[in-house]
Subunit: 141 residues, 2 copies
Amino acid sequence: MQETKDYQTKQRNVIMEFFQKNSARCYNANELYAELLKMGESVGKTTVYRTLENLTQKGLLLTFPSQDKNGAVYQFKTKKCEEQDHIHLKCNICGKLFHLDCAIVEEFGLHLFEQHNFCIDREKTVIYGECKHCSDKRKSK
Amino acid sequence: MQETKDYQTKQRNVIMEFFQKNSARCYNANELYAELLKMGESVGKTTVYRTLENLTQKGLLLTFPSQDKNGAVYQFKTKKCEEQDHIHLKCNICGKLFHLDCAIVEEFGLHLFEQHNFCIDREKTVIYGECKHCSDKRKSK
DNA sequence: TATAATATGAAAATGATTTTCATATTGTGC
DNA sequence: GCACAATATGAAAATCATTTTCATATTATA
């Protein structure tokens, strides 16, 4: 899958560092492009797209296919993501990504497999909903 | 949300019937357009998009945001979907949609809410993975 | 049957993403 | 350091799903 070798370039480093420093939320290609401009780190838009793809291939970023008109969003993949039994929760409102790192994930997966013959893909699956913060905010209005 | 009233038109009926007859899998706008052409039922592409949106709004179709380059896919929403406690499983390989209609869904949702303060959105959430049929096929190769 | 509301569809516009291609940068061997 | 082969960059053009525009057609209702 990774046929050719990678060169270390300024642009890739800049983008990688950006995601490491801003690992709390996800960005789409345009947002990233704008943030880099703001930082004075001009990276061509084409390169932004290519780097996003490249870092995802390497397993350094998570890619979430577009849920709206604004295109796919990308987020830094923390060490935690390497662990076996967790799944991602994503808040519809604030867009934040949470890790459900709990025995229930294993149980749920096992149940799906044993009782329903379905083998869950934890990488691709995202559970959408509303996080506590956003639901509190909504209720207090 | 539904401000204006709907007119009954040939195009809408044709599309609705198509989905009812082909409720086993999902179609994107282009596939649907092509199928309609094949059936001799010419419907403009703009109308295809508008109808897809319209039927989704009415709760007659499920819309799955694009996971690849081929655009969003749509599928007939069966009566089953009206029930409270089920969630959708989608096979990465064959694209088929399954209903997980089992007490575990309720348990899982409750656990998420009580233990992790997260309120799951069952409409939007899709669990991706591999169905039995496809995994058997893969193994027998 | 008139007419007001809504729907249709061809063509143009939009906007995210990809491709092209000429140029620049990087890693490697000397 | 130097040359050169591999790879990366970026501006502009191309793609492609989706939306908008707008003139025309259809539908519901009175």
